[in-house]
């Protein structure tokens, strides 16, 4: 569904990602892990058009994404959340999610300004949809709260709701449980499962290994911008290169030695 082939990204002389190739299959819950600075978020930014490729290709189905703008990529069916939460300050939760529905219930600016009936119909659809999605992520009661009145964990859920509102086929989550309590983390795990059950493919970055191993059908590991492992969780867990990247050379082997 999403294919990285020979993908590279340089920032000046710094190789953020170099020659990375792997694919995300439709229906997967696919994890992307790796130490800090491994290039995980850069891959997300490449897939959503926020930064331009230095080399290689990213394909979404049959579509090459290289020349597309972020909003066009969103309309093709890729939505995302951000590691450092990016909400619209001053909007309520339901308005925030309604922004995500803009592409589905579009109407022209004259209809908007003249308050024509088409506007009322589309606004109702947008807010009904937004409410439905807020209910789905468990934030229905907070509909009329301003974004910054929500707790950190709730803000992360609101970002997921906003992304879902765009009607994605593929959802990219950048550290969805960062800063969450254990209970909140479990809720996110369940939420990702229900998102997957709706037929949406999930690709996520995460540091919590228990979370990753318990949830994902496939795991890709990056280290210093290169791919060091890609496969089912158990396989990746026992991969020598992965153990070295996380624990240092020989680290795990010396335990109890």
């Amino acid at each position: 569904m999403l294919t990285f082939s020979g993908v590279s990204k340089y920032f000046g002389g710094m190789k953020a990602v170099s020659d990375v190739s792997f694919g995300i299959e439709q229906g997967a819950i696919h994890a992307l892990i790796g130490p800090n600075g491994a290039g995980k978020t850069t891959l997300f930014n490449l897939a959503t058009g926020l930064v331009r490729l230095s080399g290689g290709q990213v394909l979404f189905g049959e579509h090459p994404l290289a020349s597309l703008e972020p909003h066009q990529i969103c309309r093709l069916g890729i939505a995302r959340t951000f590691q450092n939460i990016r909400l619209f300050r001053g909007m309520t939760a339901i308005e925030t999610v309604a922004v995500g529905t803009n592409t589905r219930f579009h109407y022209d600016i004259f209809t908007a300004m003249l308050a024509l009936p088409r506007k009322r119909r589309n606004e109702k659809k947008a807010f009904d949809k937004a409410e439905e999605i807020l209910d789905f992520v468990g934030l229905k009661k907070k509909s009329n709260y301003l974004c910054y009145e929500l707790s950190y964990g709730e803000q992360r859920l609101l970002e997921i709701a906003r992304a879902l509102a765009t009607g994605p086929k593929l959802l990219l989550l950048d550290e969805p449980t960062a800063g969450m309590t254990e209970t909140e983390t479990e809720n996110v795990s369940d939420l990702i499962k229900s998102i997957s059950q709706k037929g949406i493919t999930v690709f996520f970055i995460e540091h919590d290994m228990r979370f990753v191993m318990g949830l994902s059908s496939k795991v890709t590991v990056l280290n210093f911008g290169t791919l060091i492992a890609n496969g089912p969780p158990q396989e990746v867990q026992n991969n020598e290169a992965v153990i070295q990247a996380y624990l240092g050379r020989g680290g795990a082997l010396n335990v109890g030695g």
Partner: protein, 273 residues
């Protein structure tokens, strides 16, 4: 001309309210324009040429003024898309200066001698247009377009990835803002009877910005209140003669400390649970 003292102030308030809304729309996408006096000048001169030299009706002149100012909004807004914050402010300031200097030297509009003979702006005309503009702006901001504007202002990157075409949003807001400034310019020229390039200095652009800063720029009513207060205040303070602008200055300083978001903010309209 032909209006009483109070009638004149009422007209100025109405025109300034339109100007405040014109900047409000542009600003609602996070774009700061310090060139609105330039768009106003284009509307003012275009309107003046049409009614005085071509003999058209004022209504027709206002429509053309809006379209022409809007066109210049597109011409300025397009290259300005890459700029944000203070850089955009400086670029638009440059545009305002270019327009002013152009009309200072353009022989067809009598250069620095100015143009005269423009009449026709009346209280009913100003307030009819103002009412329509308030309604349209209010409805615009209460729509998916308004939410897109706000999303772009609050976080451009998040807005993009949610499917919002930032280019379209920013340009639309810039063009609409410029058009409204053009309408205000035409109304202003036909109220003043006489205009020259000094009506459209950088100071005028700043004055419009102050309407937003004082009244608030989060909801449509803020700029309107700001324009009302800042237009009426110098008149109310006439007894202080030359010192009245001191009060104006103190007010701005106090606002920045006490209520930086302006008198009216979004919270006042936020439904409590």
């Amino acid at each position: 001309m032909g209006e009483s003292y109070l009638g004149g102030i009422a007209i100025q308030i109405g025109i300034n309210m339109i100007l405040a809304l014109s900047l409000y729309i542009t600003f609602s996408t996070g774009q700061i324009s310090l060139g609105h006096a330039g768009f106003m000048a284009i509307g003012g001169y275009a309107g003046a040429i049409l009614t005085v030299q071509a003999g058209t009706s004022l209504t027709f002149a206002i429509v053309i003024a809006a379209l022409l100012a809007g066109l210049f909004g597109l011409l300025v807004g397009w290259p300005a898309l890459r700029l944000g914050g203070i850089f955009l402010a400086i670029a638009t300031l440059g545009f305002g200066i270019i327009v002013m200097v152009f009309f200072q030297n353009f022989p067809y509009t009598s250069g620095s001698m100015g143009m005269q003979g423009m009449v026709g702006t009346s209280i009913p005309l100003v307030y009819l247009l103002l009412s329509a503009i308030v309604f349209l702006t209010w409805q615009l901001m209460r729509s998916s377009w308004g939410r897109s504007f706000e999303a772009v202002r609050e976080d451009e990157i998040a807005a993009k990835t949610m499917g919002i075409n930032v280019t379209v949003v920013k340009l639309t807001a810039f063009i609409l803002g410029a058009s409204l400034a053009g309408i205000a310019g035409a109304l202003d020229a036909h109220y003043m009877y006489y205009i020259d390039s000094h009506n459209y200095t950088f100071g005028r652009s700043i004055e419009i910005l102050l309407f937003l800063i004082l009244g608030g720029s989060e909801v449509v009513w803020g700029p309107l209140l700001g324009a009302l207060i800042l237009t009426a205040l110098p008149e109310l303070l006439r007894f202080m003669a030359d010192y009245r602008m001191v009060v104006y200055g103190l007010l701005m300083m106090a606002m920045m400390i006490v209520r930086p978001q302006g008198i009216i903010d979004r919270k006042m309209f936020h439904k409590r649970r």
